[in-house]
């Protein structure tokens, strides 16, 4: 898992480099300043989900299955809210601001970077959902704590990446 | 490690000498634009444009007149390389580069495009003519003129000009002083002052010229000039016309 995360980080780094390289290089509008709003709520949700997944793993290690299910479900819900938020934002950008992936360099780099992250969120959510289903079928017990822990690592990674993406796109890039 | 340090320091020294060289007074400036499979040279100082064969004045040690080149590209990456004059420098779209040459002997220097740029990368040859000061000034003067038309043009050539201006030629080619002002292909105003056709692909003779217009692919398969669907007579006429473009 650490290897995978290392490899994944390298991919994100390249996309980030491309984004930073192209900040302010678009030949036509719209610019980030005109169209981007800072998705505070979203970010908070995602960060919270890291906390909840941590708590979920802890509960599982302690053998408390109910708490595990609760926290796991919260994580799932928070992740979904985040994804939904991103979807809303994109919808607004595309139909409201007329920014698509082929509009200008900002569009290209913005959608691919944020999209890459969203893709990872989707993958994470799928994983979360599968574990959730298994948990509901009472298949997840204390012995699985290690696997679940490793999986939570992935979710934390997705989270950390968001912090970096957020800083680049919404703070530095504006 | 010692060897490595020595190698590094000497390299760094040369890098500095080459890349950070200052431009002396009297330096000549030319803008080189790489196109898929041919070269465009803009002498903005003198106000004319030519293609494929670069002329520069010879430089001497006391009064150096090096030529500084600004390198641009219109399409893909190319690379300006004349082994005996300078190392390679890429021509990259959206990324202007610079290099300079400082030849001390007159003569013809051969080179070629050294960055893979597509089908005919192999036949994107470079010819640099280093002229004496007088020859160079003379050449510049000639290049600055518009095409000398009508004066003593044979009827066939006059006809040829009409065909030239009637067909798509003028969309891509420019002949100063006429309505032809295309910029996609080489400037033909002084076509006959060049020794070769199509970036050194063939000697500039009447036969080759005719073959070229009839079907560029026989000389340079994959070149971006289409074969024109004209009658034999029209080809003869166009050729006659082009032959007047000294």
């Amino acid at each position: 898992m650490f290897c995978l995360i290392a490899a994944e980080s390298a991919i994100f780094v390249i996309f980030l480099v491309a984004y930073i390289f192209y900040i302010g290089k678009s030949l036509s509008g719209p610019t980030p300043r005109q169209v981007l709003e800072i998705p505070i709520f979203n970010t908070v949700c995602l960060l919270l989900s890291s906390l909840t997944i941590h708590l979920a793993v802890r509960s599982l290690q302690r053998g408390s299955s109910a708490a595990f299910k609760l926290f796991w479900f919260l994580t799932l819900a928070l992740g979904t809210i985040f994804l939904f938020g991103t979807g809303r934002e994109w919808h607004r950008l595309i139909y409201g601001a007329g920014l698509t992936i082929s509009t200008n360099l900002f569009g290209t780099t913005y959608y691919s970077l944020v999209g890459l992250h969203a893709f990872h969120v989707v993958a994470g959510l799928l994983g979360l959902a599968i574990v959730m289903l298994l948990a509901l079928a009472t298949k997840v017990t204390k012995e699985h704590a290690e696997h679940v822990d490793v999986f939570s690592l992935y979710w934390h990674f997705v989270d950390v990446v968001w912090v970096v993406v957020f800083t680049t796109v919404y703070v530095v890039g504006r | 490690i010692l060897i490595v340090m020595v190698l590094f320091l000497s390299s760094a020294r040369v890098i500095h000498a080459i890349q950070d060289a200052r431009k002396p007074d009297g330096a000549n400036e030319v803008t080189v634009v790489g196109h898929q499979f041919w070269w465009e040279y803009r002498y903005s100082e003198y106000g004319f444009v030519t293609a494929n064969e670069l002329h520069v004045p010879v430089s001497d040690r006391v009064h150096p007149t090096p030529t500084f080149l600004t390198l641009l590209s219109a399409d893909t990456d190319h690379d300006f390389w004349v082994p005996r004059l300078a190392g390679k420098t890429d021509l990259i779209p959206n990324h202007p580069n610079k290099t300079w040459i400082d030849p001390h002997e007159t003569g013809l220097y051969l080179g070629q495009c050294a960055q893979y740029c597509g089908t005919e990368h192999a036949k994107m040859l470079l010819r640099v003519y280093v002229d004496s000061r007088a020859d160079f000034d003379h050449w510049v003067k000639a290049q600055q003129q518009a095409a000398q038309l009508n004066a003593g043009m044979s009827p066939e050539a006059t006809e040829g000009q009409k065909v030239f201006e009637r067909t798509a030629c003028i969309n891509c080619h420019a002949v100063a002083g006429t309505i032809a002002d295309g910029r996609f292909g080489p400037d033909l105003t002084h076509l006959m002052s060049r020794d070769t056709l199509a970036a050194g692909a063939a000697p500039n003779t009447r036969e080759n010229l005719r073959t070229w217009i009839q079907n560029p692919d026989t000389i340079k398969p994959g070149a971006l000039m289409p074969a024109m669907n004209l009658s034999d007579k029209e080809f003869d006429e166009i050729t006659a016309y082009l032959l007047t473009l000294h």
């Binding site: 490899a7 991919i11 491309a18 678009s26 | 490690i1 590094f8 893909t76 959206n94």
Partner: protein, 563 residues
Amino acid sequence: MSSNSLPIPDAIDSAKPTSGEARLLETLHECVITVDHKRLGIMYIVAGLIFLLLGGLEAVIIRIQLLLPHAQFVSPEVFNRMFTMHGTTMIFFVIMLILFGFGVYLVPLMIGARDMAFPRLNAWGFWMSTFGGLLLYFSFVGGDGLYGAGTAPDVGWWAYAPLTARAFSPGHSTDYWTVALLVSGFGSVAIGVNLVATILSMRCPRMTLARMPLLCWLYLVMGALLLFTITPLTAAQVMLMVDRYLGGHFFDTQAGGSAVLWMHFFWIFGHPEVYVLVLPAFGFVSEIVPVFSRKPIFGYPIMVAATVGIGFISLSVWAHHIFAMGMASYSNAFFVLTTMAIAVPTGIKIFNWLGTMWGGKIRYELPMLFCVAFLFQFLIAGLTGIMLGSAPFNWQLNNSYFVVAHFHYVIVGGILFAILGAFYYWYPKVTGRFLNQTLGLWNFWLLLIGFHLTFDFMHFAGILGMVRRIYTYEPGRGWEFWNVVIGVGTLFQVLGLSCFTFNLVWSYFHGRPADRDPWDGWTLEWATASPPPEYNFSVLPEVRSARPLWDLKHPEDPDWKYQ
């Protein structure tokens, strides 16, 4: 080495085909579903060899076309496809596949494990990598969209933007190139993860990292490098796809995109990639040289340190491929420095191998011959590499045949020779039979002559200003003679490698049988039968040093006494 002293518990002889067809199908089926690291290793190697023939065929076409000026053997379009396919195939689907094959075969054996850490991931990696290669070759059929004849990609193996943009590369051939490398890239990352995990967590009891055979160290660093090198390529390929299909502008110079960015991304991948290729080759040499010099490797800890050093430095030298791109003078100087720095650890390695041979009782068996040739050729190749690494030299030689000569010297003269040595060394282990000695000698000498004729003289052509990737050239620039010599050399190489191919097949059926430890080796793979049984080991010798088998054979003078 007595040959028949031990009965061979092998599968090939005992299970004679009962009914031909059924058995064939069964074998095929087994290959498809197998997760056994030995079987997968062999499959990797065989796939790599098949691609070698294809890539070699393309090289031969290139050389025939360049034999004479103005030759008309193939059209410029075909020529451009040939070198693109040749480069891509050779790097990604020949050398990589073969090295992965050796890796997944040998690493578990050498560390005394039953299999890789993730056997199924291993199989997945194989199928992804191979499928990538098939996709690449499918472009010959489907590059124009299935109707009519297809076209293979013709953008060169670096596929510099903006040549790959829709405007300059219409059709689908470039997409095949992109997708093929994406897919095989996933496979390579999988292998990287697997190798690292296996080496770190599957070592048998008491095999500390410092007692691991050097080959495993080299694969460990290679695996780690894979994680950081393939991924930038993957990311860049995704961007390219976005450009080509979604109308993005990453590399679209008309909309302010940058061609330079691709160059950086590609070489951030490209340079570490060449060390991914060469490290395992170092590994083979580090195993073979000591065994045939009858001496333990000289300076084991330094070798390990040098390996790790190469791994790190290699991540910081990429821009030496784009000195001509017009970087600022200080960045050029920086990359000159890092490039030169890599000579230090590599030099250490060379000297350590020499130190190992020094005063040893050298047995010039075939594997050793290849390794000696490797040492010599890699040294020269490294020195031309250092020449290229000095930016002012590079401005002259970049993209000339001098570069082509440099990297074929490393790859063919270095890696390919090391791989062949590895074949002669481990073939008895894998099949239970020796490769034929006579054919092997023919293979060695023909290839050696061919190699030197071909690639030595490419340096001259390069210095005379011959640019690479040209499908033809004008007579009268002093290149004709060298090109003929190079062509003749290629013929010798074809003959040499034909001997090799034939040898592989012939010896499989008729080779002299080998016992479990034919070379009197010291590492764990020789402790089990040849070929190894499914479970690899029933009992493991105790590992108390880097040469467990030596300790076993020489209880009077074991290595661990000296530690």
